[in-house]
Amino acid sequence: MNAYYGIYGGQFVPETLMRALRELEDAFVQFKKNKESKRKFQYYLKNYAGRPTPLYLAENFSNYVGAQVYLKREDLLHTGAHKLNNTLGQILLAKFMGKKRIIAETGAGQHGVATATAAALLNMECVVYMGKKDMERQAPNVDRMKLLGANVVCVEKGSMTLKSAINEALRDWVKNVQTTHYLIGSAVGPYPFPEIVKYFQSVIGKEAKKQIMEQNGKLPDSVVACVGGGSNAIGIFSGFVKYKDVELIGVEAGGESLELGKHSATLTMGRPGILHGALSYLLQDEYGQVANVHSVSAGLDYPSVGPEHSYLKDNGRVKYDVCFDNEALDAFKLLSKMEGIIPALESSHAIGYVVEHKDRFKNRVVIVNLSGRGDKDLGIVKQIRG
């Protein structure tokens, strides 16, 4: 397989991990061909996770913005976010490879919870690395992971957020590479991880395309998704990327402002760099040191982005833009009141973008990927907004 998306991607890892990446790539190829593996994955998606998730025409919200807005309800997936698609898939893949132990990083805790859930279901030992700052702002998810039997390791180094958690998970993996599968939660990291995550998340795009054809009779004008590492976005975009008339919009976290250190808008404000195994857009200083980033949403608080998004930005297929903290917080409340749906702060960025740009969406058919639900965010929203 080609490890690159245009100039982006690759395998920038210590040499010790190269054999594991080769084995993973081989196993992934076999896994995709294996009927029994595919059947199991489909079985768990349907009967355990609750797929297909609905595509819901949000009428009140549509009237408010003057467009026809459909929400892809990944918030209704078991554990409350799209993350479970990937963790079920990768744990089946890890079992297929004979691994006994799963490690993962988590930012908002949604990937950690989804990993702990799939590990409990499929009986794997599970360790989740989480930054101290994230453990504080996403405390309910920490309790959930523990209840599910995962060992949650608090990372008190570096930025103490998602980036530090990935550093620590990579260190664990180098040490325990013979027994352990590193279950990366987003479409980031060294190849073949971005490809694996896209494969398991592409179910979102496949369903959404089928559902919009059933409900609307034609493809949408626009598909909007939030982008941190970019797994929910790459999942839903994958269903539409070949239809050039469908506008694809990735919404990054504009944070407090677009001054370096106050946002996580990697594609909008960064430049190419190498972090966590891949060449991709990166928020960095002039010397190549990774910048501090900020977002009110722990799941978007990451200085890099999946390499395929960098490729899709450069070739112009996807437009990337930002939604600021306050806009996302407004959208969080708006959708809750208007539709009775509490969106995750991550997904609130996609909603907020549509609200802020409602003029350009006027009379258009728009799908927003509602990647997760916002119960986990009540604490942080209350703290900021009272």
Partner: protein, 235 residues
């Protein structure tokens, strides 16, 4: 004679202390030095080196590191390498970095495996800087063949699966791979990761051409016993 190399984090604890350590290494005839250019996210390093790197980054940047490197080159007579991470080079501008690094013998890039090294190698070749390649307990014999073929300088053999600052031991399979790397290879095979004492050196040198010590050297600097530590290795 088994070679001993020391890894120092550039400008740690501070510039004067760093250059003093370089002078001590020169005085006790340390064979080679690896100067670590700090990176914000050093995933191959354990807590001791990470902490030192982040401490330096609070007050310095790559421009400062090159100034110190130049002084180190004037002080130290043995072979000199820079060890860092890919983005410290790429994010600075690979060509610009290579140009400024011309004074060193080689570059060691912790997150650059052989398969990704081509683009970097082409640039460093133009400036006569050797790119150091790794072998590990995870390497196949075929991988080791490739590394032997491409290496113009020593092979950095990572002794163990893990990060810097662990403990030293070699299983038979790894020892076999080190022997295989040395066989019909006219440069050195240097062992790194986990080596911290005269005793470890003695054990490692039964199999390899030399060792490099990092974490323990940083600890010795922090505890103000660097000269004694270097002396102990040379006795």
């Amino acid at each position: 004679m088994c070679k001993v190399g020391i890894y120092l984090v550039c400008d740690y604890l501070n510039r004067d202390g760093f250059l003093k350590a370089v002078e001590i290494c020169n005085r006790y005839k340390i064979d080679f030095l690896e100067i670590g250019f700090p990176f914000s996210d050093p995933v191959a390093d354990g807590p001791v080196i990470e902490k030192a790197a982040l401490d330096v980054l609070k007050r310095e940047n790559t421009g400062d590191f090159f100034k110190s490197l130049k002084s180190a080159r004037e002080i130290f007579k043995g072979r000199l390498y820079v060890m860092t991470y890919a983005n410290v080079i790429f994010g600075y501008g690979s060509e610009k970095f290579a140009k400024e690094a011309q004074m060193v013998d080689g570059m060691i890039i912790a997150d650059l495996p052989l398969t990704e090294s081509g683009k970097f190698k082409r640039i460093f070749d133009r400036y006569n800087i050797n790119l150091i390649h790794f072998a590990t307990p995870e390497s196949s014999y075929e991988d080791i063949d490739k590394v032997k073929k491409i290496s113009k300088d020593f092979i950095y053999f990572v002794s163990t699966r893990g990060i810097t600052g662990g403990s030293f031991s070699l299983d038979q399979e790894t020892a076999d791979k080190i022997n295989y790397a040395r066989n019909n290879f006219n440069k050195d095979v240097i062992l790194g990761f986990g080596i911290r004492s005269k005793d470890d050196i003695h054990k490692a040198c039964k199999t390899a051409d030399g060792v490099v010590i990092g974490t323990e050297a940083i600890r010795a600097i922090e505890e103000n016993r660097f000269e004694n530590f270097i002396k102990s290795l040379r006795q």
